[in-house]
């Protein structure tokens, strides 16, 4: 079965998306998800970036990384969430910039996606946030992330 853009939109357009159901589209959805991320449209790009993380594919990292480079914080947030579902090396690369993002929401989600097995470089950055973030709540979230890394 060939997955079309129409199939992907049907899965992602609902007001409340069922990602478990949407993931059944499988890796053939990836080119469409990349196209939707590149639209940089807050109503669809975050959903596409997240689904790229849910679906296991060799192309997942590229789609999530494209979202991580968006100038719209909502798209970067979805990339930060999706990173939790990538393999550790890919997750480390995606989260590297996001844990120090200028937007507190992006930082929060990036720190939540930090788990054991990520790169030492990332650990240094998480430690930096846990010590220097202006928000106490964010420092706490970073502290929890740091404990998961150790």
């Amino acid at each position: 079965m060939t997955v079309t853009m129409e199939d992907v939109r049907r899965a992602l357009d609902p007001d409340e998306v069922d990602y478990a159901e949407a993931s059944r589209l499988g890796p053939e959805a990836m080119p469409h998800l990349m196209a939707l991320v590149q639209q940089n449209d807050p109503s669809i790009s975050p959903k596409a970036a997240y689904l790229a993380g849910v679906i296991e594919s060799g192309e997942s990292e590229a789609v999530v990384a494209a979202a991580a480079a968006s100038d719209d914080a909502r798209v970067r947030i979805a990339a930060a969430e999706a990173a939790a579902m990538l393999a550790p090396a890919a997750a480390s690369r995606v989260l590297d910039a996001l844990v120090l993002d200028s937007d507190a929401g992006v930082q929060k989600l990036a720190l939540r996606s930090v788990s054991a097995g990520l790169s030492p470089d990332l650990r240094d950055k998480v430690r930096e946030v846990s010590e220097r973030a202006p928000s106490e709540a964010l420092r706490e979230i970073a502290g929890e992330a740091l404990r998961r890394l150790q």
Partner: protein, 187 residues
């Protein structure tokens, strides 16, 4: 029912006895595709076609930068995350059987909104990238409505950005469900 003469208050009293949902608007991040007022107006238009009133009980801005990108988990009715519980605790002015609507930046995972709320605290969230009809759709869920297939209906499951022939419709059976909800007292 008194509808006589030039007494404006008699008219208004007679005609205001309609089932009405009262919303309390809590704004963490303003929506970017439509304003909150446009969303309320859209909802009011649709609900009015079936004789359901929409009142705004209060409106306030909430400065909660770490809750505006909200973990909603699987967004299942009756089950909520720690963050939803935290957010829905902000209930200034919200009376019993009234609905708190939180305008947030985004949900995790990404959706346009979510109507899952804990027992006794009727609430929903609407994200900044929502359509004009998402507010009415989410409150529809709060009042007990489920998804339907036709694309010209408010509760269509294919996404309210794709609504055809706007304003979208509510049908009589949906009206009955909304009327039966304790959240629509006649006022």
């Amino acid at each position: 029912m008194f509808v006589r003469g030039t007494d404006g208050s008699a008219w208004s009293k007679a005609w205001s006895l309609v089932p009405t949902v009262t919303l309390h608007l809590k704004i963490l991040t303003a929506p970017t595709s439509f304003t909150v007022d446009q969303m309320v107006e859209g909802m009011r238009t649709v609900y009015a076609t079936r004789g359901i009133g929409v009142a705004v009980g209060s409106r306030e801005n909430l400065d909660l930068p770490l809750l505006t990108d909200l973990d909603v988990g699987s967004c299942t009715m009756g089950s909520v995350t720690t963050e939803q519980t935290q957010l829905f605790g902000n209930r200034n002015n919200v009376g019993t059987n009234q609905v708190a609507v939180y305008f947030i930046r985004s949900t995790n995972p990404p959706s346009n909104g979510c109507a899952a709320f804990p027992a006794g605290r009727p609430s929903c969230v609407v994200t900044s990238a929502a359509s004009q009809w998402t507010l009415g759709h989410e409150v529809g869920h709060v009042l007990g409505l489920n998804h339907v297939d036709p694309t010209d209906r408010l509760m269509m499951g294919g996404g309210t950005w794709n609504i055809t022939n706007p304003p979208p419709d509510l049908i009589d059976s949906e009206r009955a469900t909304m009327d039966n909800s304790p959240l629509t007292p006649s006022i």
